[in-house]
């Protein structure tokens, strides 16, 4: 038996201009009661992921902020994947035996998670020296697991607290890896990939994006609005390109041949030029403000 009557369906919802409508979802039912976690506009930079930073002969491992407060939450499983990816992608540049200081920010970590981070660092021959955190629970967990811990009540130390306001970009992120479908790399600066960016992968950079390989995924350069940013690839065949607030997709007909190309914002949106043309144009038409 087909239980619904045949006649019920073909009535289009009334009063909607199908060519031009606005649709919004209802707000979360308990948003008001559930104070703080969702209603408050998260202020942390959405592009923060696991990040290495070298400082005075030591390596800082900065974790993204607690997922509750982020527009792009990084949960533990994502964090682990990101750390693995960064370790693998930066292998050649991470000097073995460099002491690592873990900046946990306001993330909650249990002792098992701290140990797991340590184990991953160990594989890359990086000793975990010290853990900084602003959460008491994390501090206790790490201390009981036998790590040297420093609990900080105030931010603004060791690269923390910088997400609140717009700040200078980070140094470029250099990755030697293949970015596969589902991988998202976010960075507050320029991203350089030595390898391919496959379809289904995405790179969101606040600076330029350089792909020394095939670009087939989605790339967003100048993600915080910098229209001067560029995307360069040896083989430019992206699913979609975004620079600042502009979006472009590949032509329906793929070109017969691929050359190294540069994408930039021209007077009428995103344009693409071969690398050699672009270099020339850059020299001849660059206007000094």
């Amino acid at each position: 038996m087909i239980s619904d009557s045949p006649k019920q369906n073909s009535q289009a919802p009334e009063g909607v201009d199908f060519n031009n409508f606005i649709l919004e979802i209802e707000p979360e039912p308990n948003a008001d009661a559930d104070e703080g976690s969702h209603q408050v506009k998260p202020e942390s930079n959405p592009n923060l992921q696991v990040q290495f930073k070298s400082e005075k002969g030591r390596l800082l491992l900065l974790l993204p902020p607690a997922p509750e407060k982020s527009r792009n939450p990084v949960y533990w499983e994502d964090l682990r994947q990101q750390l693995k990816g960064r370790l693998r992608g930066g292998e050649r540049f991470l000097q073995p035996h460099t002491p690592v200081h873990l900046i946990g920010r306001d993330r909650l970590l249990d002792s098992q998670q701290v140990q797991e981070i340590d184990a991953l660092l160990c594989e890359a021959q990086l000793p975990l020296k010290r853990i900084y955190t602003s959460r008491r629970q994390t501090a206790v967990a790490a201390a009981t697991a036998g790590y040297s811990v420093e609990q900080q009540t105030t931010l603004g130390h060791l690269g923390q607290g910088q997400e609140a306001s717009r700040q200078a970009m980070e140094e470029p992120l250099y990755l030697q890896t293949t970015l596969r479908s589902g991988v998202e790399v976010r960075h507050r600066g320029t991203v350089i990939v030595l390898g391919d960016a496959n379809p289904g992968s995405s790179i969101v950079a606040e600076g330029d994006v350089l792909i020394w390989g095939n670009l087939r995924g989605v790339v967003h350069a100048g993600a915080e609005g910098n229209r001067q940013c560029r995307i360069m690839a040896l083989h430019m065949q992206p699913t979609q390109l975004r620079i600042a607030d502009q979006v472009a997709r590949s032509p329906e007909e793929p070109p017969a041949q691929y050359h190294p190309e540069v994408a930039y914002i021209g007077p009428d949106g995103i344009r693409i030029a071969t690398a050699s043309e672009f270099a020339l144009a850059d020299l001849t038409t660059e206007e000094t403000p």
Binding site: M1, I2, S3, D4, S5, P6, K7, Q8, N9, S10, Q11, A12, P13, V16, F18, N19, F21, I22, L23, E24, I25, E26, E28, P29, R71, E77, S181, G182, V183, E184, P199, G200, S202, T239, Q240, V247, R249, S250
Partner: protein
């Protein structure tokens, strides 16, 4: 009342997404306003089958995070403006969305669309539970194989437990010659086990692979293939029309017709 239909199977690779794309397109061609929702977070495919991958700007998660409105995330089909896709996020896991959030998305869609097809992921975990949360009807897609039928049976039980009563069956990738040679389960065999109303039978067709790779649903072709006709029939039955089941028994001329198609274009 809009119809909210989840396409599910339990087992993977039986053709849920292909069915969703083709049914959605067939319904849109028939003048229905259709939204297809990809509930396969982390392993989305529906956009590829519809050839809309490079038009995605926002996903369902962006809507939920308040980054954009729902209409901004909807990708309108270039060929068939009655059809829109609500894409899933590719970089997240199935756990990144809750059944309650799915309900809010679908509820808003019902204001504009009269058919909402939800493409469920394989399995019976979180992704499945999300995809059935808002559904009022279900289409079970299965192939005539014992493993697929076994999983379909389990899923039908789960749907009933979740108060989705209108459950109908699509048998995909049937090979009449093998059925005739008793090497494959017949439509009757499958129905005998699952005992739910049959919505249609889709014959195995190489064109499906071609259309998948091109990102053009079969039902858009000018010379409809057998599978394309079968999908159109399913869509008509779904709209309440009485369409007889296609005769899939082996006929001598079918070979000739194929030859003709081969030479005649």
């Amino acid at each position: 009342m809009s119809r909210i239909i989840v396409m599910t199977s339990g087992k993977g690779g039986v053709g849920k997404t292909t069915c969703t794309a083709n049914l959605g397109m067939a319904l849109a061609k028939a003048g229905q306003r259709v939204a297809v929702v990809d509930a396969d977070f982390g392993l989305r495919n529906l956009d590829l089958l519809l050839g809309l991958e490079n038009r995605i700007v926002y996903t369902a998660l962006d809507v939920l995070a308040g980054e954009c409105r729902l209409d901004q995330a909807l990708v309108k089909d270039k060929r068939q403006p009655n059809l829109a896709l609500l894409p899933a996020a590719q970089n997240r896991s199935k756990e990144s969305i809750k059944p309650e959030q799915m309900k809010r998305l679908i509820k808003a869609l019902t204001k504009v669309y009269n058919f909402i097809l939800i493409d469920s992921p394989a399995g019976i975990e979180m992704g499945f539970r999300n995809s059935i949360a808002a559904a009022r009807e279900a289409i079970i897609v299965t192939t005539p194989e014992i493993s697929a039928v076994r999983d379909a049976d389990r899923v039908i039980g789960l749907l009933e437990a979740n108060d989705i009563k209108a459950v109908r069956l699509v048998i995909n990738r049937l090979r009449p010659a093998m059925v005739a040679a008793e090497q494959m389960m017949s439509v009757k065999d499958v129905q005998g086990i699952l005992s739910i109303p049959l919505l249609g039978v889709i014959p195995d067709d190489e064109q499906v692979i071609v259309s998948t790779n091109k990102g053009e649903p079969l039902v858009l072709e000018e010379n409809l293939s057998q599978a394309g006709i079968a999908f159109i029939n399913v869509s008509q039955r779904l709209q309440g029309e009485k369409v007889p089941l296609m005769d899939l028994s082996i006929k001598k001329e079918s070979f000739l017709i194929r030859l003709k198609r081969l030479f005649g274009g």
